[in-house]
């Protein structure tokens, strides 16, 4: 198992970084968050076509590039740094991983190449984004094979060209696909504090579906782990960028005739934040390195999502605090990351949820 990034991986990072530097600026994010779809078609085509980023982590046999969580993590960190707005997380990560992990062979052959090439943007409909245990309780397949129920929050539900759904049934959980024009399907935008990631409510009433694969509890948990680790990478990128910018600000901002970064109270806060970031980053990288090496990861994915959720939030809070008055204005970009930090903190489970999940897997007992 590797313990540091290879030269190739570092080079890959700089390619991704250069692309996003040009095509994912904060002024673009500010424009895109005002639109309904929340993303730029041209950038998406370039990203999926020329660069092939969308299929980074998907198997070569199904049109992907066959890299693993390490390279996916690199892409996501760079996206998180720049608040990239677009369906990468919903389609490539959530839907891509769901199909790769949960679909049967025929459906992998049908769906993965479309997702990997970026030709189709697919949203994954889960009835619970807070906890894996909640999945498949609201969305149910009837004995007649029709889907009903509500998913209150679906990432990029409105702009997606196709929906994948995990739903319960009399015979257990399954993965299904639904056409955007299907009968009984309604999609309504939901406005969250983070408009750089679009959410929608998705309601099904006796909607026809196509079966994609059976979902065992183990496979569902593994999917949740992988998705949580992927999101953690995006969050680490955002946290790192915010801390760098904040430290740069404290070196420039002069009060009492000296840069505020020379004041010990501020130095100590920055040093603490650096430690929080470095340790969360090491944990995140470790879990990707070991996933890439095919090692079973029982506790670390939840550990990582828990640590990174706290880390990103704490750095975002400090980023506003250390900027003083300018930090809480609309004009200043800091709040864009602050909002992203909040939504990412709760998506796929809060820190508290993931700690509890670890306690369960470590054999701790319920307080009941």
């Amino acid at each position: 198992m590797q313990t540091l990034y290879t030269d190739d991986q570092n080079q890959f990072r700089s390619v991704v970084s250069r692309f996003l530097e040009a095509h994912a600026t904060t002024s673009q994010a500010r424009e895109l968050q005002e639109t309904a779809s929340g993303f730029d078609q041209a950038v998406w085509h370039q990203m999926s076509g020329e660069l092939g980023l969308v299929g980074t982590h998907l198997p070569e046999a199904y049109g992907g590039f066959g890299f693993g969580m390490i390279e996916l993590g690199i892409v996501l960190e760079e996206m998180g740094r720049r608040l990239y707005c677009g369906p990468f997380f919903s389609s490539a990560v959530l839907s891509g991983l769901a199909v790769a992990e949960l679909a049967d062979e025929a459906n992998k052959i049908e769906l993965l190449p479309k997702i990997a090439s970026g030709e189709e943007r697919v949203a994954l409909v889960l009835d619970d984004l807070n906890q894996v245990e909640g999945i498949g309780h609201q969305l149910m397949i009837s004995d007649q094979g029709l889907l009903s129920g509500t998913a209150p929050m679906v990432i990029d539900g409105l702009s997606a060209q196709r929906l994948l759904v995990i739903a319960g049934s009399a015979t257990g959980l399954g993965l299904y696909q639904v056409d955007k024009g299907a009968q009984g399907l309604s999609i309504t935008p939901r406005v969250s504090v983070d408009q750089t990631r679009k959410l929608a409510e998705v309601v099904f009433v006796d909607t026809a579906t196509q079966f994609v694969g059976r979902v065992s509890p183990e496979a569902l948990n593994r999917f949740w782990d992988l998705a949580s680790v992927a999101l953690s990478h995006e969050m680490i990128g955002g946290a790192e960028r915010l801390l760098e910018d904040t430290i740069a600000y404290t070196k420039l901002r002069v009060q009492f005739g000296r840069p505020i970064g020379s004041v010990q109270a501020i130095k100590h806060r920055c040093a603490d934040l650096l430690l929080t970031l470095e340790f969360a980053k090491a944990a995140t990288q470790h879990v990707s390195f070991s996933l890439a090496a095919g090692e079973e990861e029982k506790h670390h994915p939840s550990m990582v999502k828990a640590m990174v959720s706290d880390c990103y939030r704490d750095i975002a809070i400090a980023a506003i605090q250390l900027r003083g008055g300018i930090g809480f204005t609309w004009e200043n970009d800091t709040h864009l990351w602050f909002r992203r930090a909040k939504c990412s903190e709760v998506l796929l489970g809060t820190a508290g949820y993931h700690r509890e999940r670890m306690i369960q897997s470590l054999g701790g007992q319920d307080a009941a």
């Binding site: 470095e278 550990m303 640590m307 700690r355 670890m358 306690i359 470590l362 307080a367």
Partner: protein, 396 residues
Amino acid sequence: MTTSIEAFRSETRDWLRTNCPPGAIGPGEIHSGSTKMSFQADTVAWLEIMADRGWTVPMWPKAYGGADLSLDQAKVLYEEMAAIGARLPLINMGTRMLGPTLLEYGTEAQKLRHLPVIARGGAAWCQGYSEPGAGSDLAGLSTKAVLQGDQFVIHGQKIWTSGAQNADWMFCLVRTDSDAPKHQGISFVLLPMDQPGVTIKPIKLLSGSSPFCETFLDGAIAEKSDLVGKLNEGWAVGKRLLQHERSGQGGLGPGPVRSRPVGVTVDLELSEVLARYVADPQTKSSQREAVLRWNMRNRAFQLTQARMGQEVRDGKTPGAATSMFKLYGASLAQDKQSLTAELMGCAGIGWEGEGFSEEEIGATRSWLASRAVTIYGGTNEVQANIIAKRVLGLPD
């Protein structure tokens, strides 16, 4: 390359299995090099046989008592020692702190005079740094050394000298120019402890133990030939040594497994005592979560350590980042003691005598003693200053 390292591994494995005495396996005593302490027969035998191969300090040059091993070979040696549970043959401030510093800053004569003795475990060293008036502001030290002929005559007081009572030698920061700016009038000298000008007084700590001393220097002598680095340029030498100290405390460097900070568990699996409390139905869920949070921090600490350790093995020297490990490692060790004491409830307040088990009293004493870890070796506040300045580049 691969074949030669694998050959080295199998040779090493065979040799260790044949030669490591049973008394040097598993937890137990490690030789400190002190000529004033007595050690068990196997501890001494293990030291001697390892020193013969240069394996007490495997990466040092052979001329100075080492074995000239490469980083990869040293790693193999430590892995093979760990595989049979062999303890280190020798640990002291000579092998871990002064030795690396002398290799960098010492003259050839100094290296030949001191390093082979350190490598053989023939002397224990102590650190004459802190003074009553110079703690965090170490460069404000006032112990004075005056050159008379071929000798420095030293007057002043050192404090927090760990292990001074068993040390044979001291490396010491002294002021040799009182008129220069404070960082530019300091020199780094070596002096023997057994001489009339040196008096030692143990300091009793709040935990009841006395691992530290006050060391009074009243006309103590250091030979001029034992000045390390140039006169008045000892601050750079002394600071470099501190980085070796912190990297040891932080568990960095191509070292063996033992350098983990106090009480740190190997994996996410809980330590025995904490696991017992987690499993106990009486334990509240908030306490259980506190244990888990500690374990997560601990695990992340190990992973960061492993990452930086890998970078060190790839040729980077431990720099200011060592302060990150000192700060975080100290907090972790301290928090673990506090958490354990809290989980013990009223059983965790026993000082001595009847009514408390030995384990309970031990835990309480450790909790008291842990107040020191965020202070010695540079307080957490000072480490945070160093991180802010050297890693983040924040201005003075």
